[in-house]
Each structure stands twice: as structure tokens, then as C-alpha cells.
Symmetry: C2
Subunit: 267 residues, 2 copies
């Protein structure tokens, strides 16, 4: 079983309750990589027998660092309509909340489609050298990253840059067929914009992330193990919190997900 | 009391429970304007005696149309840390959930600041003519809107336009000192991007909206009754749901809020 599948696997405890375990393969500086925690929360909804439709929207709030070991995910369908459903998710450890999430699922219908934010023209993935982030952080090794622009700062000299836009080709390492949980995790795989902006290694922590899915499982299956072009940019850095807006396209130019997050930073 | 204050006013029912009433002044096509529902949910957190700090992040999920009359808001602090707090909010009518929200509040500290997404150069508000949306929808009359570009479609002839970017100067009507609840409501005051994109009056409904606040109450007080430059643009229209990204600056160029939403559309 791939590291990702192992990390997001949950055991049903009956009803709305699931049990999972943190994965050393996705360890971050402190606690697990936020993207894997988001994927675990979403996976509880995906595995819930009462689920209607597929994910359209996911918001994850990171309340506290998880400690290594078991955790419980409660995924509660709070409103079920004819073709839509709203979920509240709470992940707990020792009866303390470490993560909350809301998920919106829906049965989609074929309608008019149009990508307005179209994929920028960049080189093909295999012509772009592999270059990731800090390898000593274990989860970074679970992604193949090929930076087109806005790569991980080479030195912490405070030089920084006005634009924090990053563009990179990315996929799971080892390659794995794309699904909603993996896509949600990738939305959190950008290194913090404040590091790029200031070239200063300030402490950070994502507090909330939202993902909008613009794909059904069929589009994700078509993407398969291909690369995603992932783009992220900050919008504002204000008194301890900055935000980031992100887009992830597949190689065919389908905008599979748009995402946003707000991140704590010190100083 | 201004219409806005009346609309968001809540009576404490003790503990985490509050009672509110829908306001005819903010009526939409069906049920209330989503922005006022978001403001009511946030106001329950603002009025909660256990609140720590000020709002940094708000996600609101619209689960069902509210009917006219009373509703109950439960605002539950699920995790309180040293300087941050996570909330789950549920608005119910007749014991059915009509709205869920998560809110993150924090005590901010003065840090490095930088607006990366700077305000575009547009004319001053008073040189921009007042031009709103469909006046027969009551809530639209609660905002003074002065469109710089991307105004409400004049005719439904299917002509549409590739870019759905709107820019407008906006404030409460009558003018009212800005606060977090009013700012949250304004983040939902854009007409649906799909109407601009297709010049077709298709049925729509926001399902989830996120607001990141880049201001403390001091910055909002400084903004006072001044105008906000509000910008919104769609990113993707896919099988029944499109998203929108938005920015709201005050006249001094402070980016007070960034916001995103995903919206159902038919056909």
C-alpha cells in the first residue's frame, strides 16, 4: 500500500466515528503535514456510508498540533438535501479537538463549463528539474516537485521578493492515481509564502484552508498519475497572519482545484 | 437603529445559544441575502462572552434557504489556545440546520505587514456613478454600489464576456461604521459571476463562502463610513458550481479582507 493510502486509512468505529493513526511518512516540523490531516478528515466523509455525491468544497481548520498516535474523526452529515449534503467534521485526540472541517458534497450534473483562470504557459514537467523544499522534513519527500518559478529560498538573508508567486509541477512520490483526498493534500503542499517574501525562516502554521474541487472522480481518474501545475501567491501579510490563493491544473489544462489558506507567522 | 444592526441583532438564550430574526430589509429572491446570514453567524461569536481575540477567518456554508421568522444560532468554542480560538457555528430553524460556519479568532500582535495584492488604480468613488443590481431584490438597496467595471448585465442576450472581473466602490446604505460583521456581509454582495460570464439569468445559490480578515477593529474603525473598493472574479465554471475570488480594500489601500466562494448554477 502506498504511503498516502496508509496515512489516510481509517477504521470505522460505527456511526459517524472513524479511527486513524498519524503516519511518520508525513511528519512535519511539529506534528503531521497539514495536508495529510485535511485528507484524513475528507476521507472520513468519503468512507461514510451515508455520503451523497462527491466533494465540491472543503474547509479545514487546524486547531492544534497532533501528537503521534491514534486519533478519532467524527464526520456528521448535518443537512441532506435532494442532491447536496453538508458535513461537520471534528478530529480529536484524548477528547480534545485538533481539527475541524466542513465539507459540502453534491451530485453534479453536466452543465456549461469554462476555465476562466487558464493554465499559464510553462515548460513541460520533464524539462523542469526536480527541486523541492527542506528534505529533512519528511512529508516533503512524499512529493515530486519541479519548480518553474518561486522556488524554496536558497538562503535566509532577508533579501526576499515582492512577488510570492510559485509555480511548480507536482505529483505524489511514488506516483499514485489522483483522487479527492490526494488533491486536497496537495493544496497544502506549498511552502509558506512569508518565507519567499522575506527570505527569513520565521515560525509559521496554517490555521485554515479551503479547497474548491472543480472535477468529478472521472476527471481525477483521467489525470491519473500525471503532474499537476500548482500555483500559489500571497495577497496580504498583516499582524501575524497572511493568506495565500492557489490553483492546481492537470497537464491537459483542466483547473481541478482552487484553494486558499490563512497562515500564522511570527514577527 | 440602522437596518444592518437590526438584522444582525441577537438575543442571548444562555450558554452558546442565540436567537435572531430574519429581516425584510435584507430579503433576497428566496430567503435572506447570504451576506446577512454570514454576519448573523459571525455576530454570535462576537457576542459570545467566552470569545478570545478578533476574527481572522470565517467560513460559512449555506445549507438551505431560511424561511422568514426566528432562528437559533449556536456558537461553540471547540478549542481555546493561549491566543487563538476555534469555533463551530450552526444556525437552525425548526431544529433543522440552515447554515454551518467555522470561525477562527485570535489576539493579534504587531508584526511586519505588507499588502502584496495592491489596490488597482481606479477613479475616486464620488466620480464613479451609482449603479447597482436588480433593485427589486431588497437587500441590494442596502448597499451603495458604484461600478468601475464588470457591472450588472444590462440585458440577458447570452452575449457574456470572457473576463468576469468586477470592480466597484461600495458601502452600506445608509452609511455605517465598518465592523467585522458588515465586512463579512459585503464579501457576499457581488452578483453571481455566471450572470456576467454568460449574460444569462440562470438560477444560482452560494453554497460556501470564506472570508479572511486582514484588519483589527482599529483598522475598521479608521475606515469608518468610507467606501471599499471591492473586486471579484470567477476562476472556473464546472458542472453546476463555479468559484469566485474577491478582495476588498479601503480608500487608503489597506486590503481589509480577501474572500472566496463557490456557487451553484443551473445549466
Amino acid at each position: 500500500m502506498a504511503a498516502f493510502d496508509q496515512a489516510v486509512s481509517l477504521k470505522s468505529l460505527g456511526g459517524d466515528q472513524f479511527e486513524g493513526h498519524t503516519s511518520p511518512a508525513y511528519a512535519n516540523f511539529v506534528g503531521p503535514f497539514g495536508g495529510i490531516m485535511a485528507a484524513q478528515a475528507l476521507n472520513a466523509v468519503m468512507q461514510h456510508p451515508g455520503r451523497l455525491g462527491e466533494p465540491v468544497s472543503l474547509t479545514v481548520n487546524f486547531c492544534a498540533a497532533q501528537t503521534d498516535g491514534a486519533f478519532t474523526v467524527q464526520a456528521r452529515p448535518v443537512r441532506t438535501n435532494r442532491s447536496t449534503q453538508h458535513w461537520i467534521v471534528e478530529t480529536t485526540q484524548n477528547n480534545e479537538v485538533v481539527l475541524t472541517a466542513t465539507v459540502f458534497t453534491a451530485t453534479r450534473r453536466d452543465t456549461y463549463r469554462k476555465v476562466e483562470h487558464s493554465m499559464p504557459a510553462v515548460g513541460v514537467p520533464t524539462d523542469t528539474p526536480i527541486q523541492g523544499g527542506p528534505k529533512r522534513v519528511e512529508w516533503v519527500n512524499r512529493y515530486e516537485m519541479r519548480f518553474v518559478e518561486g522556488h524554496f529560498p536558497g538562503k535566509w538573508d532577508g533579501s526576499g521578493q515582492a512577488s510570492t508567486r510559485s509555480r511548480l509541477w507536482m505529483r505524489d512520490e511514488p506516483p499514485r492515481r489522483l483522487d479527492f483526498c490526494a488533491l486536497a493534500a496537495m493544496c497544502d503542499a506549498f511552502f509558506p509564502r512569508v518565507w519567499l517574501h522575506r527570505a527569513s525562516f520565521v515560525p509559521i502554521g496554517t490555521v485554515s484552508m479551503t479547497v474548491y474541487f472543480h472535477a468529478s472522480s472521472a476527471e481525477l481518474a483521467t489525470t491519473g498519475t500525471g503532474y499537476l501545475l500548482a500555483q500559489a501567491q500571497g495577497q496580504n501579510f498583516f499582524n501575524g497572519y497572511f493568506d495565500q490563493t492557489a490553483q492546481l491544473w492537470n497537464e491537459a489544462g483542466a483547473l481541478l482545484a482552487t484553494s486558499h489558506q490563512v497562515v500564522y507567522y511570527k514577527e
